[in-house]
Symmetry: D2
Subunit: 366 residues, 4 copies
C-alpha cells in the first residue's frame, strides 16, 4: 500500500527486455545508433508531423534543457507557482538558461483549477512586466500536463494559453512528465494535446510511466532545436551508449505500452478515489483526472491508515483555495498510483479506510 | 574489427542481469534505495576508507560536477590541453562551476609523456598566475587516469603532482573514465592510486568498462561533498529510480567484474599492439599502457585496413612531440579496445595488416 | 516640476569639487589609493565598528554583488515581490549568484505595509521550502530601506526579520539605495539601522542622494567579504582610477552632506504631501516616510497637472491592498523628491493642484 | 618617474570641466539624456557610418559585454594567450557569456609579433576544433589594438585575421583599451582600423587615455546589438545618471583630445625608448609602437633606477620568443607612458639611466 509516488516502482518488463535486445555488437555512440533513430522516427509518427527529438535520462534535464532552448539568460519563464520547474528542480532551469527568472503566474487558484495556470492570470502577469531593460524579458510559458495536482488541462485551456503566449511573442513549453496520463484522461491524440493546441516544445516523460530512465525533448518547431545538441552535451546529458535510451522509448511505444500503463495508473487512481469517497468524512478538493489524488482525510483516519502500513504524503494545503483547505481535525493527503499499482493494493487501502471510518465515526459502535 | 572507441559496445551481461534483479517492488526514490546504499558501502571497502559517493549516468556529468565541488566561479582548473574536460565536454565544467577557467598546463609533451601533465609544467603554469583579483584563482588540478593517449601515471607521478597541488592550496581531481584500465595496468590498489597518492575527488567510470550508464563521484575528503547533493540535482543528474544506478555499480564490483573487464581490454590492446608492431613501417610513438593504442601506419596500410572494414580514428598528431609525429606517407591512428573486444577481432586485424604489409612493402612480390 | 525620480538630477557641487581635488599626480590604481582608503576608514567611523567596504558605481552592481556574497548558486534570496532586486535589475542577482532564485515573500500587504516584508510572511515563506535537494536552499533575505514605496522599516521590524533570518541560518541584506533617507526619517544611527539590528551586508547608496555614481557594499561581518574582490572584478566593477569613487564618498560624508541631502529630500516630500493632501479628492494610501509619495489623484487633477508640465509616474496599484487602490476616476501617482528639489518647485505643483481642484470640484464655480 | 601604467594618472582637465557643464537641471536617466545622444552621434561621425554605441564605465565591462554579444554559452573566443580578456579580467568574459571558453591562439610568438595573434596560428587553432557537440563552437576572435606589448596590428594583419574569421563564420572583436594609441601609431582612420578591416564590435577605451571612467562598446553591425541593453543592465553597467558618461566621451572627442592625448603618450614612449636605447646593455625585444615599452635592462641598471625612485614593472618574459628573452644578469621591464607623462619625467629617467650605465659599465671608471 505504497502510494507515495510513481517513481518508487521499477520498470515494465518490456523495457528490461528491450535493453537486453539492444545489447551485443557495436553501435555508433552518442545517439547516432539505430535504436535512437527508430525512436525519433516513431515519435514523428506519434505526433503526426516532423519533430526533432532529443533523449535524456531525467525529467529535470528534459525540462531545464527545454526551457534553455526557449529563454535567453535575461528572460523569464512564466509558470505555476508550485510547478516542478519552480520548486522541485533546485534551480536547474535557472542554471541551464544562464540565469533566467521563473515567474509564478498570478491569480492561480479557483479560476484556473489546482495546479493549473489560467489565461486570465497569465494575462495579468504579462501585464506586470515593466519596461526593458529593467525588467527581464518574458520569453516562455510552461504548463504541466498532467499537473502536480493530478489535474488535466482541457484542449481549450491549452489553446487559450497558447493563443495568449503567441500573441505576446513568447514560446510555450509543456512539462509532460505525466503526459501519457493526461492523454489517457483526455482521450485526445498526442498531436491535439501539443502542437495542434500551440505547444512549441514538450518534455515527454517515460520514466514515471514504466521506463528505467528516459525522457524525450520534442521540438515541434525544428529550428528551435538548432543549438540543442550543444545544450545537451554541456550539461552532461548526452549518453555515449545512447542505444539504451532509444531502446527504452521503443519499448514504451511498442503496442502502446505507454498508453496502457498510463490508463492503468489512472484507473487505479479513480478506483482508489471512489473507494475513499465512500468513507465518511473524506472529501476531494481537487478533481481526480490522472494518477494522483488529494483526499482530505479525518486525522484519525490518516493515523489509522499509516498504522497499518499505508504510505502516502501529507501535503501542504497552501496551493488550494482557502475554502477548500482541510479544517481542524483534517489533513490533506497526496496519493499517487502507477503502472505497477494493483487493484489489490487499492482495495486493501479502501477496505482499511472503510473499516477505520466505521470505527472512528462519531456515533459509530466502535 | 571496430576499434573506434570503448563506448560503441554494449554492456556486460551481469549488468543487465542486475537491472532485472533490482526490478519489482517499491524502492525509495532519489538514491535512498538499498542498491545505492550497498554500492556506497562497497566503494568504501574498495577504497579502504570512508568515502562519499554520488552516482550519475555520464562521465561528463561526473567530471563537471566534481570540478564544481572544488572550484569557485572565479577559479581555475589546471589540466592537460587535450584532456576530456578541456576539449570533449562542450564547456560542461565551465557551466557547472559557474564560469571557472580551464587552464592548460604548459610544457606538456616529452617531459611528461603523451596525455600527461608533469610536475615541472604544472609548477610553471602555477607561477604564471598573476595577482588577485585580476587573474582567476588557481583552485584545482585535474589529471586523467588512464589518459586520453592510453598512458598511465605512475604512483610517483601522481604523488609529485599532488604534492605540488597541496602545497599551493589547490585540490586534485582524477578523471577516472578508464580508472580500472589504469588500475589493471599499474597493478596498484584503488587506495594507492587515489587518496594515498593525494587525490581529493575521483570520477570513477563504469560505463566504458561494461556498464550501461553509471559513474561514481567519489570524495575522499567528505566535507568537500557537503553541497554536492544540490549540484547533482540542479544539473538534472539525480535519478528518481536510483536503484538502477546502484545495481549497475554492484554488478560491476561483484566478482571483480570491473577489474576483469579492464584487464581484458588492456590485454587486447597489448595483443593488437604486438601484432601491428610486427608489421613493417608501423611504429608506436606512445607506449601502450591501457586499452588504447596510437600506431603510426604507412598510409597504404591505413587505406588497406579500412578497405577490409576495420574501423578506427585517424588522429591529429598535434599532441605528440614533433619528433614523434608521422612523416610523409604516414598517418597516426587511434585504436581502442574494450571488455567486449575478442582475440579473434584483434587477430583478424593483425593478419590483415601483416598480409597488407607484405603486399605493400617496397620490394614485396605484390 | 519634475518628480519622476531621484536619479534625474545631477550631483552635489561638493562632489564635483572633490573630483577636481582628487585629480592630478599619480595614485595606485584599482582601489588602493588614499581616497578610497580614507572612505573605508570613515565608513568604519560612520558604522562605529570595523567594516569591509567595496566601492562600485551602480546600485544594481552593489545589490547583485552583495547577494552573490551571501547566496550559493543553488540558493534562494527571499525578498519583497516588487523589490528592485526582483523586478528592476534584469536578473543581475541571478547572474552574479550563478543562478540563485529570488523568492517573493508571501502575504506582504496590509500586515507589513507597502513595500515591506513582514516577519509573519517571511516565516510562512520559509516554511514553504521543501526538502533538499529538490528545493533550492534558502540562503538570504533582502530588505529595502527605504522601500520602493517610500516607507521605512522601524528598528523593531528590522530586528524581527533579522531574528527569524538568523534562527534559520540565513544572512540578511539591506538594499540601501535610499539609506540616508531612511536614516533621516527614523532619526536612528547608521549602526542601529544595520548591524545592531542584525544586518549582515548593506548596499549603501550615494548616487540618488547627490553623488555622480558610487555605492558602497558594506560588510559588517568581514569574513563574508573574503572572496568579494574576485566577484567585483569578474563583473567588471573594479575601477582602475578608483580614487574617483573614493573621492565621491568622502565628499558625501564631509559635513554630513549625505544626511543633509537626504533630510532635504524628505522634507520636500512631506511638504509636497501636505500640500496635495489639502486638495479635495487626494488621498495617500501609503504613509510618506522618506522621499517618495504615492498620492491617489482624481483623474481630472492628474490630467491638469500634466498639462501644466508636471512630471511624475502613474503607478500600478497592484502592490496595494485592494481596499487601498484607486477607484473609478482615480489614478495612483508616484512622485519622488531629491536633494535638488526646491521648495519653489513643490509649491508650484501644490498651487497648481489647489487651483485645479477648485476648478474641477463638483459644485465649484468652474 | 612613475611608469607602472597608464591608469595611475588622473583625468584631462577638459573631462572634469565637461562633468561640471553637464551638471544642474534634470536629465532623463539610464542613457536617454542629450549628452549620451550626442556622444552616440559623434561616434557615428568618427566611424563614418551608423554604429550602435553603449557606454559603460570600465574596460573589463566593455570587453566582457562585447564578447557576450558575440558568443553563445557553448562557444569559444579565440584570443592571444596573454590578452587582457584571458588573464586580467578574472573570468568576466566567462561569466557574461554564460560559460564560454577563451581559447589561446597557437603559435603566437615570432610569426605574429609580441602580443599579437597571427592568421597562421589562428588557422591552426580553428583546425583543432573537433566535432560538435563535444567541442565548444568557435564563435568569435578577439584582438587587442594596441596590444598588451605595445605593438600595433597593421591594417593588413587585421584584414587577414578578419578574412579568416569571416570565412569560418565567426565574429571579430577588437579590445581597444588603447585604441587611440594605435590610431596615432598607424596614422589610420578609425573606420579603416575597424569595420573597413572587418571588425564587428569594438571596445573603445577612453579611461586610460584621459577620461575618468568611460568606455564605448561600438557595434558596426547594428543587429548584433539587439539584446545588448539587457546584457548591460543585468551586469549592473547601466548608469542612472548616464549624462556623466556621455559628457566624458564628448569631452574626449572635442578638438580631438583623444587623439592628442594618445599621440602625446606615444611620443613620450618613443622618447623614453630612444633615451634608454642609448644606454649600454639596454635592448628592446619588442618594437615600441604605442605607449608601452619593454626594455631588457642589465640588473644593475634596473636596481639603480628603482633606487632613485623610478617605478615600473618587472615583466615575465614568458611571452617572448626564447631567443629574445633576458639572459643572466638581465631583467625584462615594462614601462607605460600616458597623456600626463611629461618630457621632464622621461628625461629624468633617461639621464639617471645614462649616468648609471656609465657607472656600471664594465671597464668604466666606477
Amino acid at each position: 500500500m505504497n502510494f507515495t509516488s510513481d517513481n518508487i516502482v521499477g520498470v515494465s518488463p518490456a523495457v528490461l527486455h528491450a535493453l537486453g535486445e539492444a545489447n551485443g555488437g557495436t553501435a555508433v555512440s552518442y545517439g547516432h545508433d539505430e535504436w535512437t533513430g527508430r525512436a525519433e522516427k516513431r515519435l514523428c509518427d506519434v505526433f503526426e508531423r516532423e519533430v526533432k527529438v532529443f533523449l535524456v535520462a531525467t525529467g529535470t534535464a528534459a525540462n531545464a534543457l527545454s526551457l534553455a532552448a526557449l529563454t535567453p539568460p535575461y528572460g523569464a519563464v512564466l509558470c505555476h507557482e508550485e510547478s516542478h520547474i519552480n520548486v522541485d528542480e533546485c534551480g536547474a532551469p535557472e542554471l541551464f538558461t544562464g540565469g533566467a527568472k521563473l515567474v509564478p503566474v498570478r491569480e492561480h487558484g479557483r479560476d484556473a483549477g489546482a495546479g493549473k495556470i489560467g489565461a486570465r492570470g497569465l494575462e495579468a502577469t504579462l501585464a506586470s512586466f515593466g519596461g526593458a531593460p529593467h525588467n527581464v524579458k518574458a520569453a516562455a510559458v510552461s504548463i504541466t500536463q498532467a499537473t502536480e495536482y493530478g489535474t488535466v488541462y482541457t484542449l481549450d485551456e491549452i489553446a487559450a494559453i497558447a493563443d495568449l503566449t503567441r500573441r505576446n511573442g513568447l514560446k510555450l513549453h509543456m512539462d509532460g512528465a505525466r503526459f501519457a496520463n493526461a492523454l489517457a484522461s483526455l482521450n485526445a491524440s498526442p498531436a491535439e494535446m501539443t502542437w495542434r493546441s500551440g505547444i512549441d516544445v514538450l518534455s515527454l516523460g517515460f520514466t514515471k510511466n514504466g521506463a528505467l530512465g528516459v525522457e524525450a525533448v520534442v521540438f515541434f518547431d525544428p529550428p528551435l532545436a538548432d543549438d540543442f545538441m550543444y545544450l545537451r552535451k554541456r550539461t552532461g546529458h548526452l549518453w555515449s551508449k545512447g542505444r539504451f535510451l532509444g531502446a527504452q522509448v521503443n519499448a514504451m511505444l511498442d503496442d502502446d505500452l505507454w498508453l496502457r500503463n498510463a490508463a492503468h495508473a489512472n484507473a487505479m487512481a479513480r478506483r482508489l478515489a471512489q473507494g475513499l469517497a465512500s468513507c465518511p468524512g473524506v472529501r476531494f478538493p481537487v478533481p481526480v483526472e490522472a494518477n494522483a489524488l488529494f483526499p482530505i482525510l479525518p486525522s484519525a483516519l490518516d493515523r489509522r491508515l499509516r498504522e497499518v502500513g499505508a504510505c502516502f504524503y501529507q501535503w501542504s494545503p497552501g496551493g488550494l483555495d482557502p475554502s477548500d483547505r482541510p479544517g481542524p481535525g483534517e489533513v490533506l493527503a497526496r496519493m499517487v498510483t502507477s503502472f505497477a499499482t494493483t487493484a489489490e493494493e487499492v482495495d486493501a487501502l479502501v477496505n482499511t479506510a472503510r473499516a477505520a471510518s466505521l470505527a472512528v465515526e462519531p456515533g459509530g459502535a466502535g
